[in-house]
């Protein structure tokens, strides 16, 4: 079967710096994949290229077999690829409901209305439904700039997953969230993702989270793919332990010392 996402020889260099080299990734419909790798390993560069934010230096990106290389993000989004952000990207002055209403109206297929109010009954229902799926409906009327980090992350993901999506790329859904809230947040996110049915690739630094939610893991190191396979095998891989997990343990050690 044609994979929902297939990249061939995807590379990106900024001058002499190679951010990504020869990335070949295939993701099947509905598959959940965890991505691990130290900072600067090329994880976000990969997501940026797949969603059209960065133009690859070489290689191609296929979505269900269609070449989408070089399309701008809005066109890639229209084809069903969605992403969330490491640092949540929201409309800070507006309320959670307004944020979600804008997402619902913009991702909808009817085009934006000129005079009809944004807050139609149908849109409000759709928006609150989405907020409920992500367990943040209680914050519906709060300005998002005042919300706690975890809620903002959930809202960011909820806005990305409105409507028909084929592939969700979640860039560090738990970054900036307190350690004891991580699993709860991931439970909510992955529950909603599974209900949605789209394939999902998420970047994560916490191996416990990766192990729990990702049947398959891709490990990035220095712009390349170090290992790709079942989670248990990848996490046990000697190279991965040396370059990725070791770095993570080091990172955690630093954090605990701080």
């Amino acid at each position: 079967m044609t994979p929902v996402l297939e990249t061939r020889g995807l590379s990106k260099s900024f001058g002499a710096v190679t951010a990504a080299a020869d990335l070949n990734v295939r993701i099947a419909d509905g598959e959940v994949v965890g991505v691990i790798g130290a900072n600067g390993a090329g994880k976000t560069t990969f997501i940026n290229m797949v969603t059209g934010y960065l133009r690859p230096s070489a290689g191609e990106i296929r979505l269900h077999g269609d070449d989408i290389t070089g399309l701008p993000p809005r066109r890639v989004v229209r084809r069903g690829v969605r992403r969330s952000f490491q640092v949540s990207q929201l409309f800070g002055e507006l309320t959670a409901l307004e944020n979600m209403l804008i997402a619902v109206s913009m991702l909808g297929n009817e085009g934006l209305t000129w005079l009809k109010p944004l807050a139609t009954e149908r849109f409000v229902r759709e928006a609150t439904g989405q907020l409920e799926r992500f367990a943040i409906a209680e914050h519906v009327h709060a300005a998002v700039a005042t919300l706690p980090q975890g809620v903002r992350k959930l809202l960011d993901i909820a806005m990305s997953t409105v409507g028909a999506a084929k592939l969700l790329l979640l860039d560090e859904p738990t970054s900036g969230v307190a350690v004891d809230e991580k699993l709860g947040l991931m439970n909510t996110v992955m529950g909603a993702v599974r209900a949605h049915g789209a394939a999902c690739l998420f970047v994560e630094h916490d191996m416990e989270v990766v192990e729990r939610y990702a049947p398959r893991v891709i490990a990035f190191y220095d712009g390349r793919i170090l290992a790709d396979g079942p989670a248990a095998a990848v996490l046990a891989d000697a190279e991965v332990r040396k370059h990725v997990i070791g770095a993570e343990l080091h990172r955690r050690g630093l954090r605990e010392r701080c």
């Binding site: 809005r74 990207q89 005079l115």
Partner: protein, 309 residues
């Protein structure tokens, strides 16, 4: 709340129109001038809601005015509505071209580019002998529905025209700012990356807003020309555009009605400040702006919003 503002515009328009014949001349003049100004300012507000400050709405203010002047003088057009329409068509056409460039710029770069384009028009008109150079020229008396009213009646007609157009645009803009496209402006101001990742072009949203602002600027300029009977290149000078921004800041951007109240207040302050302090009236305006920025950074409308909350 949307209905309250729309209702407010309708009630205000009916009341002002009915009161028209009984108002003292100076007040009717003040209201008409404010209505024309409010139209231009509401265009500035539409852009501000998208996070953009135009220091060049004088461009369209001037085009709207000169369309009235040139249409009457050289093209033999006298119908006021037709002339206003001509101005809007010309302005939107110009904006459609300039907007292609401007929609790509933000912040100070957008502001400076808009100012530059209006100053180009100022320069062109100032150098043109046929258009009266820096003096401008008097416009031919306009007709309404084929009738050329006597001077007294004409003033009342123009007053009605200003009130009707301003209220109609205000009511429509109020709906627009709460619509999907209207919120698109808030979205662009808030986070363009997110807009792009919601499958919408921020450039296109800005482009549409720029066209709307151009049409409104042109209408305001045309009405101002009809009221004063004169057009001049000062309409495109950057200080004129600065006044529009001033009034937009005075009122605030949270509700379109703020632009209308602020425009009236501005004309009132200007009139009295000019009367009592002919050489320092700008200082009075400056102090007012200072007070507003210090104590009501979201404009006068935040007083109303605060009371409601």
């Amino acid at each position: 709340m949307a209905d309250r503002t729309t209702l407010g515009f309708i009630v205000a328009a009916v009341a002002l129109a009915a009161a028209g014949p009984f108002l003292p001349k100076w007040l009717a003049y003040l209201i008409a001038v404010s209505a024309a100004l409010a139209l231009v300012v509401s265009g500035v507000v539409v852009l501000m809601r998208a996070g953009l400050v135009s220091f060049g709405q004088g461009l369209y203010f001037c085009l709207g005015g000169y369309a009235i002047g040139i249409g009457g003088r050289y093209l033999g057009l006298t119908d006021a509505i037709g002339l206003l329409g001509l101005g809007v068509v010309v302005s939107v056409a110009v904006a459609a071209v300039l907007g292609l460039l401007l929609a790509r710029y933000r912040e100070i770069f957008f502001a400076m580019f808009t100012m530059a384009f209006s100053m180009i028009l100022y320069g062109l008109i100032s150098k043109s002998q046929a258009l009266g150079s820096t003096d401008g020229f008097n416009i031919a008396p306009a007709t309404l529905a084929g009738v050329r009213p006597a001077a007294e009646a004409a003033q009342l007609w123009i007053y009605w025209l200003c009130v009707a157009l301003a209220a109609a645009c205000g009511a429509v803009l109020n709906l627009y700012l709460r619509s999907g496209l209207g919120y698109g402006g808030d979205a662009v101001r808030g986070n363009e990356i997110r807009v792009e990742y919601l499958g919408v072009s921020a450039h296109r949203l800005v482009y549409v807003k720029y066209l709307i602002a151009a049409a409104l600027g042109s209408l305001g300029g045309g009405l101002t020309a009809l009221i004063s009977g004169h057009v001049g290149p000062d309409m495109a000078y950057w200080t004129t555009s600065g006044e529009f921004v001033f009034v937009a800041l005075l009122g605030g951007t949270s509700n379109i009605a703020a632009a209308y109240l602020a425009a009236f207040l501005f004309e009132l302050i200007k009139t009295y400040a000019f009367e009592y302090a002919p050489y320092t009236w700008q200082m009075a305006l400056g102090i007012v702006l200072l007070v507003i920025i210090l104590f009501l950074p979201s404009g006068l409308w935040s007083l109303a919003a605060r009371r409601r909350a």
